[in-house]
């Protein structure tokens, strides 16, 4: 079975054509934007953009399904726990109390709490597609080459791109080792106690580490034989110089970032948007 999770997927779309460097900068700008605000309008704006970009990058639901399941579980748990432990958080933040209905005792559903929790939910939701875009549309070699052009040592960049590239391989090794250990009776399911499961994972990791070390020896020999490290610099076959689209994309992200800061400072007078006063 081909495991494509978290591995670069080669397509020709606007997003794929952008330089890895651009995507990193935009990712950082937009996630910081979302982190620094509790204004649902701003967050919704970023959310729409990131979902739209996922669409542009032709990322299919099937590709990211396993990951989305984990995210959904996390978000739902988070949503319930927030309400269980701090049902009045919204009221404290916004300073008003508009009750919708009462469940029992302290558990009162208020408009404020609903807004607060929805905002939080959307914060996570808007960041995740950005991360997915970065992982699935960035060619590790091209990303490494642009970091190198920015002044990072080429050895660091090469190691980085090799690590990203070997990720699917190691994952494949892990799967086959895990299956063969399960065939001997190792139980990896939730039926086992946590401690036993941890111990069991170790018996998969040991062979994994050894087979990965073998891989490293082989690849480093192969690289030496082809002249790696011969001179102080190297060129990159897959380097893409930044073009107009890269600059425009980075510029737009920067505007969103600055605009969000301005909204917080001059319109909301803080990180929260308060429609209740």
């Amino acid at each position: 079975m081909k495991i494509k999770l978290f591995s670069y997927n080669q397509l020709d779309t606007f997003v794929h054509r952008l330089s890895g460097f651009t995507k990193l900068i935009c990712f950082l700008l937009l996630t910081t934007t979302v982190m620094l605000t509790y204004d649902i309008r701003v967050i919704m704006f970023v959310l729409v953009i990131s979902f739209y970009m996922n669409n542009v990058a032709k990322i299919t639901f099937k590709q990211i399904k396993p990951m989305l399941i984990y995210v959904a579980i996390f978000l739902i748990t988070n949503f319930i726990l927030t309400f269980t432990f701090a049902p009045m958080q919204g009221v404290e933040i916004y300073g008003t109390k508009n009750v919708i209905f009462t469940i029992f005792g302290p558990y009162v559903v208020t408009q404020e709490q609903l807004l607060y929790q929805t905002t939080k939910l959307f914060k996570y939701l808007s960041v995740i597609p950005l991360g997915i875009i970065f992982f699935l549309t960035t060619n590790p070699s091209e990303f490494a080459s642009s970091l190198n052009k920015m002044g990072l040592s080429y050895k660091v960049c090469t190691v980085l791109s090799l690590t990203l590239r070997y990720f699917p391989d190691v994952q494949r090794d892990y799967n086959s080792i895990s299956l063969s250990q399960q065939a001997r009776g190792l139980d990896m399911s939730r039926k086992e106690k946590l401690f036993t499961r941890l111990k069991n994972i170790i018996s998969i990791l040991i062979p994994l580490i050894f087979s990965t070390l073998d891989r490293i020896e082989l690849i480093s020999n192969a690289m030496d034989l082809r002249g790696y490290g011969k001179s102080k610099t190297r060129t990159w076959y897959s380097y893409k110089p930044l073009n107009k689209n890269d600059y425009i994309t980075m510029f737009i992200s920067a505007i969103i970032f600055v605009a969000s800061l301005l909204v917080s400072k001059y319109i909301n007078n803080g990180i929260y948007w308060n429609p209740f006063i």
Partner: protein
Amino acid sequence: MKKPVIEFKNFSFKYHSQADYTLHDINLKIYKGEKILIIGPSGSGKSTLGNCINGLIPNSYTGDIKGDLIIVDKNTKNSSIFDISKEVGTVLQDSDGQFVGLSVGEDIAFALENDNVLQEEMKKRVFTISKLVNMEELIENNPYELSGGQKQRVSLAGVMVEDASILLFDEPLANLDPKTGKVAIELIDDIHKEDTTIIIIEHRLEDVLHKDIDRIVLVDNGRIIIDDVPEVVLSTDLLIQYGIREPLYVSACRYADIDIKSSMHPENIEKFNMENNESKLHDWFSKHNVRLKPNENETLLKIENLSFSYDGVRKILEDVNVDIKKGEMLALVGKNGAGKSTLAKLIVGFEKPDSGDIILNGESLLDLTIKETAEHVGIVLQNPNQMISKNLIFDEIAYGLRIRNIDEEEIEKRVSNVMEVCGLSPFKKWPISALSYGQKKRVTIASILVLNPKILILDEPTAGQDYKHYSEIMEFLKTLNEKGQTIILITHDMHLMLEYTYRAVVLSDGKKIADKPSYEVLSDDEIIDKANLKRTSLYDLAVKSKIDEPLHFIESFINYERSNINEN
């Protein structure tokens, strides 16, 4: 007189990590434009010899050097691996492991990147080279998604792009099926031009000899045993003596008491001239004409109308039916992607079929968990390093029992028993790291056998092994089989099929296309082509010497060889 491009002069080498010298007093001259085969069993020093030529010794593997090695007028003592890599391009054994780039083009370009060639120039040169190996249309593809043969073309292009005048191939056939291996040998022959020197390190002699070789250098124990033209080397008995398998047609002639002379050109079946010895072969055949007996026991495992697909669209297996008899040793063959590994995964319960059934002793295995299935069917992976997780042999074998909370006394008894069967008793207290590859393989087999599975499945048990280790592993499996163990071997080793498994099941594109005796499979051109196999040269020999029943001839040869091994 031509000048040598590579010259070893009284050259010896000792790894720092080892007490003894690996190479002793090597004197070898290789001339410009020659095509050389360096052959020898595992541990003979042939790979070390290769590593000296490409500069990994002493650059990556340090050690003591005595004597001189001169490559293109430069003494390697005074040159770095980078100087050497300009002259010598190396294609390593495992092409999967040596890809640096994410696309074919990027991988080919790696040497140029390190040489600071500008991007535009680089793209041009990569394109030119990729055309030479017929890969220009796949230049954007991920090297991992290519077939074995294409992968090797990419590795080769990545080396050729540097314009090295010497090309070194380290076991180029190790991971290839017979047909792809044949194409690889033809490709090497195609790129062999006047001024390129080619050195092939291999132990699969018959496969390399598919195209002409100038000289064979036989190495054992770090010394050169013989260095001569192929017809002379093949006319001696040195190959057998040093554990190299001769071409099968040569073995057959020797059994028939035909004296192999260099004038007969034994290096290639097409050139082979029997020099009126055909009658001897006919005599031998009439004396040893035996039919092998199929296994007629009751059915142990029944695979019924099995279909499977990962994505619901493309069928990996389609309506496969196989009956496996009790005590049988069966080969499951087919090219990469034909569905053999998937079938094995279904039998051991790693995957569940879309339709059909797997019935063991009348009961379906489909409702069992992986753990429960393991008590009926065990699988041994190709790479023992992927299975071993303990330091001591005993603990490793006992592992499956300990998980099942069986009491220590019983464990002790069962493990000792299995170690006895697998010939591991002398190593009881040894750490696994001290074992050889073949011994590790036995440990992994033992660790599955200890669970008493009724069927043992082995994935490519002999891949990459030389004749000695191959025989060791296979003879061990044969003794297990003779004690009643049912064994399924997933393989594309034709010798293995011929010699050890009476019956072969051939898969192609998920369908069963043949289920008959191995020697018949290996003589059937249509099946051979679909399964990426090669016709056995025994068949050609039989036809060449006008034997009427080539299939029976092959059958008799196998029988004769088996009883011979048993006598020794």
